[in-house]
Symmetry: C2
Subunit: 234 residues, 2 copies
Amino acid sequence: MVQKRNPPAPRPKSAKPGLAKPAAARPEPPSGGVPPKRRGRPRAYEPDVALARALDVFWKDGFAATSLDDLSAATGMNRPSLYGAFGDKRELYKKTYESYRNRARARMGEVFAADMPLRPMLERIYGIALEMYLSGEDGPRGCFTVMTAASEAVFDPDIRAMAVSGLVEMDRFFARLFRTAQERGELAASADPQALASLASATIHTIAIRARARMPRADLEAIVNGAIDVMLRG
Amino acid sequence: MVQKRNPPAPRPKSAKPGLAKPAAARPEPPSGGVPPKRRGRPRAYEPDVALARALDVFWKDGFAATSLDDLSAATGMNRPSLYGAFGDKRELYKKTYESYRNRARARMGEVFAADMPLRPMLERIYGIALEMYLSGEDGPRGCFTVMTAASEAVFDPDIRAMAVSGLVEMDRFFARLFRTAQERGELAASADPQALASLASATIHTIAIRARARMPRADLEAIVNGAIDVMLRG
DNA sequence: GCTTATTTATACGAAGCGGTACATAAATCA
DNA sequence: TGATTTATGTACCGCTTCGTATAAATAAGC
């Protein structure tokens, strides 16, 4: 039950007791990268797009309900290739999660860089969040971090640490937002940026959960608008 | 991948084509209930406690990661008994979820009946929530509804409907709270009880997620206090 | 050409899964 | 007592799961 999640520890890999690692991405001379003239048979996949496909599946079904066959079908890679490229299921999950985080961070970074007044800024952030959480071919998928934090993946210390850092990162992002808005006088001096940041994160979380449960988009938008009003002392 | 979740449809059960249902709880003459003198071999389990044990497991691990062996071990019932009493894994899940909802509803009902001023009322509600979400022998378990909504369990329409109704019920509970507080003048007349209710629910959700990710209790309490201050126009 | 390096493709194996047949046990009813 | 009813315990079934062993394919280096 506990041990179930820590499988029997891979055997030393028959021959080659030395470099048993799943290879993954070789050093590969920086990124000046013309064809690096690799030696053996060329890959039939691009690691980045394969990872994105795997993300789609994990995002939709969660860790436990996703099988290697699902991942194989989604990426077009057969099982040994998958294993060779990304390691086992858990490692693959971590890598997809990392790519998700990077993507989300990038989008949030853009918004912050846009440097606009607080209210439209918040509206834009929540607009992006709704777009992400409601997307998905087979219905809304919610937020990967929330899924991860809520699901059994938390039993892995690494994954849990990643989830926590995802939550904290979002808190800090909002806190910075409110702090600068306050400095500019867009927010009452008596306001507590930290508390507002928590509420802003909480609003993200609640729409993620509700999107996943397939609540109608209009409801989610109403929640967002109400939250913004309160946060801005409507 | 989709069909995976809708297994081959149970065969008509060999003999007895008529009453094939898993029996569950027989009518059982109201509740005046001295020993009802049932006919065959007596049960070796109490349905209520068995359900509570099953809830513990599902709550900790989620639907997909919980095996019938886990449930069997937790309840002390062997697999056929489990099946006879509660139906298959999905049905058992639904029944455990229902019992969870009833429990949560009862506790919230108590608080509402206590009829105290808004702030201590909120403090007490979040206190109960934290207690529930942080409990669990192997670490905090968060909120079952959030877990359910976030996990693959939502792919079942029934379960999704239950999850949505759980979310809506909490919204309504908070809305009623804020409305009566407003009528009593404990809340500014300009306040929007609906929006505040969403935020109050969102705060529940965010602490559920964070508890599950094992954020320290003090952090969760700080979030709750900040949220209450903002909601009450601190 | 042959050797070496790297990836793909097939296919297997041990373990786990949900569910059920079947025989046994323990109670009531006649 | 024996028939009937209900629940248990064992053992099994077919299927899926994750991971890997092995062989074939495709490239570069010589």
